[in-house]
Amino acid sequence: MNPGVDDLKAAFPIFASAPRPFHYLDNAATSQICRPALEALLRFEGQERANVKRGVYRLADAATRAYEQARSRIAAYIGASKPREIVFTSGATLALNMAAHLLEPRLGRGDHILVSVAEHHSNLVPWQMAAERRGARLTALAVDREGRIRIAELERHLTARTRIVALTHISNVTGLITDLRPVAEAAHRVGAVLVVDGAQGPPHGPLLVRELGCDLYAFSAHKMFAATGAGVLWIREELLDELPPFLGGGEMVARVTIPQTRYAEAPRRFEAGTPPIGPILALGAAAEWLMGLDWTVIRGRERALLDKLLHELSRLSGVRLVGPCESEGRVGIVAFVVDGVHPHDVCQMLDQLGLCLRGGHHCAQPLMDAFGVEATVRASLAPYNDEEDIDALVEGLRWTIRRLR
């Protein structure tokens, strides 16, 4: 077994300094930073800082080199075929907006975009906006009672006018993993590209983005144990050179005159201005460190914790799971409601026991509507969570129910 997997909390500085008790279960919103990422961030910002891509002095040259190394490391972590497929952004939301703008020229009046009811607002609103700008149509795959996207209805939605299919890899509410391969095949059959919101993917281990079959894949650094302020849009190499730029500015050009500009090659064409260098180096360090962990062990443990959590929650009277009751086909994200107690009041009570959970619509209002709730409480796991966290949560819920119902 990989050294360190047994005491992962030690690799995350916050656990040494946070006042006890501290049960952090809001990992789907933002996870805690791992030491290698924090150190890379600190080293760059405090000791080795220079802008990238232009300077020839050693400090600047080293920064550029580190930046490109981060690109390679992230490419390796998600299984990209080339580092140049990695476009750095400031987060998943910007990456998804970028995807929408890059693909917008393919949308004509009356063309079609397909999303799902389970999407995070960041993978819905940019498509609504693009549809509005181009006079395109947007429809959404429904979900079943447990929040599963109805892939079976794909064929009913897809037409020769479908240009874009945009789906989540893993729901940030139910933790359900979308079966992307058949979607990719069906989308490609009608000539559409498949954009995947991967915000909840890479936090659960290295992946092989090419094998998912998608064409673009977006995610954030702060959810995968690196710093806030960085994100990635992976673009399949076959598309890289034909997509137009989105943001204009320094570094994305080959030659600028007042009347016109010739753009640089990908990925530079998509990275305008000074990038979030520190956060990107931190992301590279996190990816490198994560790659060294034994994910069979970590995934097994997450699954066991999830089973325990689901089991305990289902035994608590007054608690109702929102989403499936089993751990099959999902990661460690569980939404639930406490009958008669508002999610915010639940979370506020839990906070008094050092439990950090999120209550709200989780930026997924259409999914809330589908579930017929306004909001839920959500517990989301990371590799550093353990049985104590689950026990504390269950205990906290009992106390909350006693006091507030």
């Binding site: 508002h342 506020q348 809330m368 306004e374 006091r403 507030l404």
Partner: protein, 151 residues
């Protein structure tokens, strides 16, 4: 302080049911959402001489919002714009951690919320709805009074 957040006064106020959830002859109706959580207050008022003669509310929200709605229902009948504005200010005082306005000592129950900024809007929501309802009504009266060329 945080320990007493869900104090007895708040829990009891949150359980109070409004005298009416809706008014057949309301002069003003205001819907107010909390974008953070989708909580919603619907307030209906019957006015007489620009003062609140009757009040109904339907509140879907957390304990804090429900307790705040109960306070609005308890206080507001008889109030005009002036008092409503003073009440709004009294609520802000409490949320800023200051002593309660002696006119509304009950507001002291919200003192522990001062330390939790993300919940301030939960307390504010019903009071803001009340202020908007009366301000809207006053503006309308003015508009008519000044016989503006609006139509």
């Amino acid at each position: 302080m945080s320990e007493e957040l869900y104090n007895r006064q708040i829990l009891e106020a949150a359980r109070e049911r409004p005298a009416a959830e809706t008014l057949a002859d309301a002069d003003v109706r205001v819907d107010k959402d909390n974008p953070l959580c989708g909580d919603r207050v619907r307030l209906e008022l019957r006015l007489e001489d620009e003062r609140i003669a009757q009040l109904a509310h339907r509140t879907r929200g957390c304990l804090l919002t429900r307790a705040a709605s109960a306070m609005v229902a308890r206080f507001a009948v008889g109030y005009g714009l002036e008092e409503v504005r003073l009440l709004r200010r009294a609520v802000e005082r409490i949320l800023a951690g200051e002593d309660p306005d002696p006119r509304w000592p009950e507001l002291a129950m919200f003192r522990p919320v001062a330390g939790i900024r993300s919940r301030h809007d939960c307390v504010r929501l019903p009071f803001v709805a009340l202020a908007e309802a009366l301000e809207g009504a006053a503006a309308r009266t003015q508009d008519c009074g000044s016989a503006s060329a609006e139509d």
